[in-house]
């Protein structure tokens, strides 16, 4: 329909022109009729409940990877030689990122083993709340989108792994990849206790860049709504 295209195109004209022509009857803040207002308030309240999971204020981080050459060896040079890229991610307000000084041991409560250029995520009390890092992956024909193939470096260990099978839950899909939540498993052997332990993780890959990131959060630090909000915010940007 020809004129329909014109009607739609009009939507995208300058906002200044739209505001200038606004009908007096629709003036901002004029207030809807009481019945309508009540319905809108109820609807808004319902929307707020949905948003309540995201109640904590978030701050957007823009992380360049590789973050630095720290940790680079002749064995992992190919990972550090990847085309630089950035990852946008929201974290709770007051939380910060610090480049990890040394490799953590499994006795630390957030190991994020198997990843490179790891940044510790520190909460507003300066306690370790999580960690984030990246890695590269190879595409295998017929298994390009299989989580176990993409995240093999962190998914296949016996004593520590991201469980990308049973607990893997996709929260966002784009033409370039997928972002998902997953449990991070520690066996009793490496957990430093007599029992197994589980943290929560986020994994996300970008097939154009052939890289993925993984973030691990200490158990109980974030609820599922917050984790999902963080996962939803992840975006890869080629430099």
């Amino acid at each position: 329909m020809k004129s329909e295209a014109l009607l739609y195109a009009l939507t995208d004209i300058d906002e200044g022109l739209i505001a200038e022509a606004a009908p007096q009857s629709l003036a901002a803040g004029k207030g809807a009729p009481r019945r309508v207002r009540k319905r809108l308030l109820l609807a808004a309240a319902a929307a707020l409940l949905v948003l309540a999971a995201c109640a904590a204020a978030f701050r957007l981080f823009n992380i360049p990877f590789p973050f630095s050459g720290r940790g680079r060896t002749s064995c992992n040079a190919a990972v550090y030689d990847v085309a630089p890229f950035r990852v946008e991610v929201q974290l709770p307000s007051g939380w910060t990122l610090q480049e990890r000084a040394d490799a953590q041991s499994f006795n630390d409560h957030v190991a994020l083993s198997g990843m490179w250029s790891v940044l510790d995520i520190v909460d507003d009390k300066q306690e370790l709340a999580g960690a984030i890092g990246y890695n590269t992956y190879e595409k295998y024909e017929g298994a390009e989108d299989l989580p176990a193939a993409i995240y093999s470096q962190i998914a296949l260990g016996n004593d520590y792994h991201f469980d990308v099978r049973d607990s893997y839950r996709v929260v966002k899909t784009s033409p370039c990849g997928t972002t998902a939540l997953a449990d991070v498993y520690y066996s009793a052997v490496v957990s430093g206790t007599t029992t197994e332990k589980t943290n929560r993780g986020i994994v996300s890959y970008d097939r154009d860049l052939s890289v993925y990131i993984a973030a691990e959060f200490a158990g109980g630090r974030l609820d599922e709504g917050q984790l999902e909000a963080i996962a939803q915010s992840i975006r890869f940007v080629a430099k």
Binding site: M1, K2, S3, E4, A5, L6, L7, Y8, A9, L10, T11, D12, I13, D14, E15, G16, L17, I18, A19, E20, A21, A22, P23, Q24, S25, L26, A27, A28, G29, K30, G31, A32, V36, R37, R39, L40, L41, A43, A44, A46, A47, L48, L51, A52, C54, A55, A56, A57, F58, L60, Q90, S93
Partner: protein, 186 residues
């Protein structure tokens, strides 16, 4: 609350942003939706969806004019819904009237959807509208952006209805000329 502060609330991911938006712009957005859909329930849904879209868009977006930014979202959502309802023979006659009138701007053999993407068309419309005298521009946008009937425009602007209609006719003719000139016509 000032628009800038409302936008700051969105950027801080505070749910207050939704309440403030609703307080200030629910009526505005609902008015836009209702003119297209003529249904309170459908309009309410579009307005609620507008809040969600705004929440998802900010950040990273920081609108220059919040009302128009929200209005655009509502208008798009409402037109999409209208399209769906139209297939089921529901929705507003006002949209059909506007479409019939706008069709006059386009030569019969032209298929605008194929000839140009919406972005290029919007850019052309921006230039065309900016060059119009302010009164004509307001009349045109009240009719085709806000879908107000000519009678209502006349009342609001203190003009005879016949003047509004002839103003609209002349503006449509001028737009047709610009579309032809810019290669949107055969």
């Amino acid at each position: 609350m000032e628009d800038e502060k409302i936008v700051d609330l969105y950027w801080a991911r505070s749910q207050e942003a939704i309440r403030e938006t609703s307080d200030k712009y629910a009526s505005y957005c609902r008015g836009i939706a209702f003119r297209i859909l003529r249904s309170a329930a459908d309009s309410d849904e579009c307005v609620n969806d507008t809040y969600l879209r705004a929440w998802n868009a900010m950040p990273p977006h920081r609108p220059s004019v919040l009302s128009a930014f929200l209005g655009k979202i509502t208008r798009n959502l409402s037109l999409d819904r209208w399209k769906k309802l139209h297939a089921q023979k529901r929705g507003s006659a006002q949209v059909e009237l506007a479409l019939d009138e706008l069709a006059e701007c386009l030569p019969a053999a032209q298929n605008t959807e194929e000839a140009a993407d919406a972005g290029a068309l919007a850019q052309l419309l921006n230039g065309f509208l900016a060059a119009l005298p302010a009164e004509k521009r307001r009349v045109f946008l009240k009719r085709y952006w806000y879908l107000m009937p000519a009678k209502e425009i006349a009342r609001e602007m203190g003009l005879p209805e016949s003047t509004v209609r002839s103003m609209l006719l002349r503006t449509r003719q001028a737009l047709k000329g610009v579309l032809e000139q810019e290669g949107f016509a055969v």
